[in-house]
């Protein structure tokens, strides 16, 4: 359970930071690319525990 708690708090802070940064991005092609990269980062953070739990098996 401690691992899950840590994961949730990490994810919380990550989404908070990325949303904050998204607002400051310029409204052009570069901005939308960066947004896409941010969503990739969040996806990795979401599926990270599945990989680390099943690693041992």
């Amino acid at each position: 359970m401690d691992m899950i708690k840590e994961w949730v708090s990490n994810l919380f802070i990550l989404i908070m930071m990325l949303t904050f940064t998204e607002i400051l991005l310029p409204e052009n092609t570069t901005g939308s690319y960066v947004k896409f990269i941010f969503s990739l980062v969040i996806m990795t953070a979401v599926i990270y525990p599945i990989i680390s739990i099943t690693e041992a098996y």
């Binding site: 359970m1 708690k5 409204e27 969503s39």
Partner: protein, 360 residues
């Protein structure tokens, strides 16, 4: 009368001090029954009087609910005020010149809402987990009183099998609740809240999955534990009745002259102990229900406030925020459902012991 003497003798020899201490603490919060003790319940049972004053009970519950709604109204007002500010910021976004300023303001308001909600939801979580603790403590106090009564009624194999089974179930259920189910619901609420400040839904499905998973685990645990208990109860019941019949038959036939009387009075003593066992079980049920009522009403009031705030915020604030307020309300309801399911399982245990033995 003779049966009253037997009951009084048995009651005097029992140590009910812990149960009575618990009983004194329970109705202090919730006046589900004014004056209740083992003796008064036995008297009511023998004289055929109702134990609860149902009209009074409903009034008390209604009053308590509205008091709680009123006291959580402040939280709703705070959230709603922030939502109104968000609506204003959205409308004024054109006059700020750039979109960044207004969306930054909206985001900060979202953080304020998140802080308010997490604060109040953490209280809900704490009260749930302490109620769970108190209920399992009640069970662990109740079992050492009821199981010897069951054994002295002739339920020898029932008693010796049920005691470890029920104790293990209660402890295991409490552990699963405290360490898996309630934290899962709390963490899913955090995910739901963080979802309210983002434009896209990043973790909504994950949050809903965690909440469903918590409910699923609760259902599974209750089914397994109460199933085991029920099956054990049925299995041992037939063995016990065989044992009792043999004992009565041998007293009746092998002891000359007074054997018949002895067998009859044995029956009487057994039934009197049965009455005491029912009364003790009933008190356990009353304690568990009165322990449960207070937090359930409290959390229900908070859930209603969340839902009403979501309804009120829908026209003003943006969609994400009202959605997540709604979902937080559902999470609070889920907590009470889990709590009530736990109480239901404990009630099943108590009634299983109450109905065991007796029909020899």
């Amino acid at each position: 009368m003779e049966f009253e003497n037997i009951i009084n003798e048995q009651l005097d020899s029992m140590d009910l001090s812990e149960l009575e201490k618990l009983l004194d603490e329970a109705p202090a919060e919730m006046t589900i029954a004014d004056e209740i003790s083992v003796n008064s319940i036995i008297n009511d049972l023998l004289n055929g009087q109702p134990i609860f004053d149902s009209e009074n009970l409903m009034d008390n519950i209604k009053e308590l609910f509205f008091i709680e709604v009123r006291s959580s109204l402040i939280l709703g007002c705070e959230i709603l005020a922030v939502c109104i500010i968000i609506g204003l910021l959205n409308n004024f976004s054109n006059s700020f010149g750039s979109k960044t300023v207004s969306s930054l303001g909206t985001m900060i308001c979202g953080f304020v809402i998140i802080a308010l909600c997490i604060g109040s939801f953490y209280q809900t979580y704490n009260s749930c987990s302490s109620t769970m603790d108190v209920m399992s403590t009640t069970m662990t106090i109740l079992l050492p009183i009821m199981i010897p009564l069951l054994i002295s009624m002739g339920g020898i194999s029932s008693g010796s099998i049920m005691d470890p089974v029920i104790l293990a179930s209660v402890t295991g259920f409490n552990f699963i609740m405290q360490h898996i189910v309630l934290p899962l619901i709390f963490l899913s609420a955090i995910f739901i809240l963080i979802n309210s400040i983002t434009d896209k839904d990043y973790v909504k499905k994950l949050a809903l999955f965690m909440r469903k998973g918590a409910l699923f685990i609760t259902g599974l645990t209750i089914t397994i534990f109460s199933g085991i208990t029920a099956v054990q109860g049925i299995m041992t019941k037939s063995a016990d009745s065989l044992l009792m019949k043999t004992a009565k038959f041998s007293i009746d036939n092998f002891v000359p002259i007074i054997g018949g009387f002895a067998a009859d009075s044995l029956d009487m003593v057994i039934n009197c102990i049965g009455v005491i066992k029912s009364a003790v079980g009933l008190i356990g049920i009353v304690i568990i229900i009165s322990m449960l009522t207070m937090p359930v009403i409290k959390i229900m009031a908070v859930a209603v406030i969340y839902k009403i705030t979501a309804i009120a915020a829908e026209p003003v604030a943006n969609k994400n925020i009202s959605d997540s307020l709604n979902e937080i309300g559902t999470s609070a309801v889920t907590m009470t459902v889990v709590l009530a399911a736990g109480a239901l399982m404990f009630l099943i245990f108590i009634t299983a012991i109450m109905f065991m033995g007796g029909n020899t």
